[in-house]
Amino acid sequence: MEQNTNTLRDDLVVEAPKDGKLLEVKDLRVSFFTPAGEVKAVGGISYDLNYGEVMGIVGESGSGKSVEAYSIIGLLQSPGKVIGGSISFEGQDVLAKSKEEMTDFRGREVAMIFQNPMTCLNPVYTVGNQLVEALRAHDKSISAEDAKKRAMEMMELVGINNVARRMRQYPHEFSGGMRQRVMIAMGLICHPKLLIADEPTTALDVTIQAQILELMKELQKKTHMGIVFITHNLGVVAEICDKVSVMYAGKIVEQGPVNDIFYTPGHPYTVGLLRSMPRVDADSYERLIPIEGTPVDMLNPPEGCPFAPRCEHAMKVCLQKMPPYVELGDGHRSACWLRVQEQVNAKKEAGTND
């Protein structure tokens, strides 16, 4: 494995992706200990990601998407704390790593790009400086010249022209889209196996969004890295992801391959999200239907399903217990009492038939 990673780093383009699990998150719980009380930002989520797979995490603001991503890469800051569950990356327990190991882990194995490219680059250093720095942080032996060459190659790879001049410029001389390209180049410069993209297109113009998405898709194809793509935009998910996890109030309410999520959604929240998104294939009269209400207060999370108060199908049981996951197909599961009810009914029917 170790030799393998070394060869990975030498070429820009990686051959075939390996099989198996790259990232496995199990029952992850993250809480913020604020003066007002414990905020359970992430309340027990599980998923896994194979090599070369792109997973979207969808949810509204405050649903715990970013927090979850930060805990993978170890960027969670006080008062946030992982209080349970496990994260394993290529079989290693990420949460058990020491501070130094985590430092080495970040950037080399997992890279992350952020929402706002305007503030993510240090304004007082040139872009080239910051790119080279990312490389040399993990490859101490590389000479300054080689590092510079690599950085320039990377910039070309993400579609920046006039590289030599651009390297010497400061971030404020770049446009938003260009800066996000630089961020991507910076993330990929050490050939990580996993890229976490935290709403990378949200702060950009729509046209630029499309370009960046296109670029990421292209780079993913070239490098076969795994991507965790965090967004609140289902359209973006459809564009790039293989599978999707829908998060609501710190829990994954539905999870599955992208087609299943779009064509046979199993959770009213997913349905709500889809209905609130404009579609090309919709009837001309179809209206966008917003989801009524506001998310629950994470400080006092309710016993039952957090979505229940906003759910048009809410039942008495929804208010009492968190629903269990129900398998709806291959890798497609959803946590909703409606689905449980269906299964219970089917079982009963089967029982009576027997």
Binding site: I73, L75, S78, T103, D104, F105, R106, G107, R108, A111, M112, F114, N116, T119, C120, L121, N122, P123, V124, Y125, E133, A134, A137, H138, Y170, H172, M183, M186, G187, C190
Partner: protein
């Protein structure tokens, strides 16, 4: 850059001019005259003196004459405190000592204050941060004369085993004579800089680019010293201008307590004696110095922060 500099220099000249105006009319508005002493001289003597130093002319004329002389480098002569000695002479004699003290004080304030601030920011919420916080707040709360007098009592007072330092300043004492005054003069700026560094450091640490740097896998030291510190130092540099003014004026007190024959002590004397040319000369000299330092800091600030576009006039 050039345009901006020129603009700033013009502003600086204007500021000095305004200070000169204020000083001139204020001191002339003050009742009494320089010749008042224990024994008031007869009116004829006063008239003669007034005529000799041109004080009998109307104020605007006096002012115009003074400014004209000033442009030609003539600061006039002292009319009371050190009779008939050129003002420039006095300043040249007295200022170097004040400047020496000031430079040493600023130096130790910056050299100690910045690392302390970084330490506090890095250890935020820990015990050492709380201790530094209280100590530094105490430091900015203690008036200079309190520190100076207390030090004087402790180190030059009754307890002989503590008498490391001479109580009154004289050049013969060498470096030991500088230590206490410098400490007093630098204590407030040191604590202020530490507080400033801490808060701007925390500001910088919470910036997204620091998150990026962490995500890149940089070591903590590199994140702090390369990414956070350079941004955090920008406000500290901005403070260097007011700091110069502070040390020069704070020097008045320290010079009084330790009996240092510097410009500050002299200035207070000249104000109380209404020695017109000497007041004007000293004020203009100090104001020019302070304004010049502000200007330098401003230009330096633009160098440190590449975002500021000098061609557009710095806005």
């Amino acid at each position: 850059m050039v345009k901006y500099t020129i603009k700033r220099v013009l502003m600086a000249v204007l500021t000095v001019f305004i200070v000169a105006c204020i000083t001139f009319f204020l001191m002339n508005a003050a009742p009494g005259n320089p010749w008042l002493a224990e024994k008031t001289p007869p009116q004829s003597v006063i008239d003669a003196l007034n005529e000799k130093y041109g004080l009998d002319k109307p104020l605007p004329e006096q002012f115009a004459k003074y400014m004209n002389n000033l442009i030609h480098g003539d600061f006039g002569v002292s009319i009371k405190t050190q009779k008939n000695r050129p003002v420039m002479d006095i300043i040249v004699e007295k200022f170097p000592l004040s400047a020496q003290l000031g430079i040493m004080a600023v130096a130790w304030a910056v050299v100690v204050g910045v690392p302390l601030g970084c330490l506090a920011a890095y250890k935020r919420g820990k015990l050492i941060d709380s201790i530094l916080r209280v100590v530094c707040t105490l430091g900015v709360s203690l008036p200079g004369f309190v520190v100076a007098s207390v030090l004087l009592v402790v180190f030059c007072g009754g307890i002989e085993s503590l008498n490391f330092f001479p109580g009154t300043f004289s050049p013969a004492n060498g470096i030991r004579g500088y230590i206490l005054p410098c400490f007093c003069l630098g204590l407030y700026p040191m604590c202020y800089i530490a507080r400033l560094t801490r808060s701007s450091m925390l500001d910088a640490i919470n910036q997204e680019y620091v998150k990026t740097a962490r995500a890149k896998g940089l070591k903590t030291g590199k994140i702090i010293f390369k990414h956070a510190l350079r941004n955090a130092l920008i406000p500290v540099i901005t403070y260097l201008g007011p700091l110069t003014a502070f040390t020069l004026c704070g020097g008045f007190v320290v010079e009084k307590v330790f009996g240092i024959p510097g410009l500050g002590k002299f200035f207070v004397q000249s104000v109380q004696a209404l020695d017109y040319p000497l007041i004007m000369g000293t004020v203009i000299f100090l104001a020019t110095f302070i304004v010049f330092m502000n200007l330098m800091v401003d230009l330096l600030y633009k160098v440190v922060d590449p975002r500021i576009n000098l061609a557009k006039g710095g806005n």
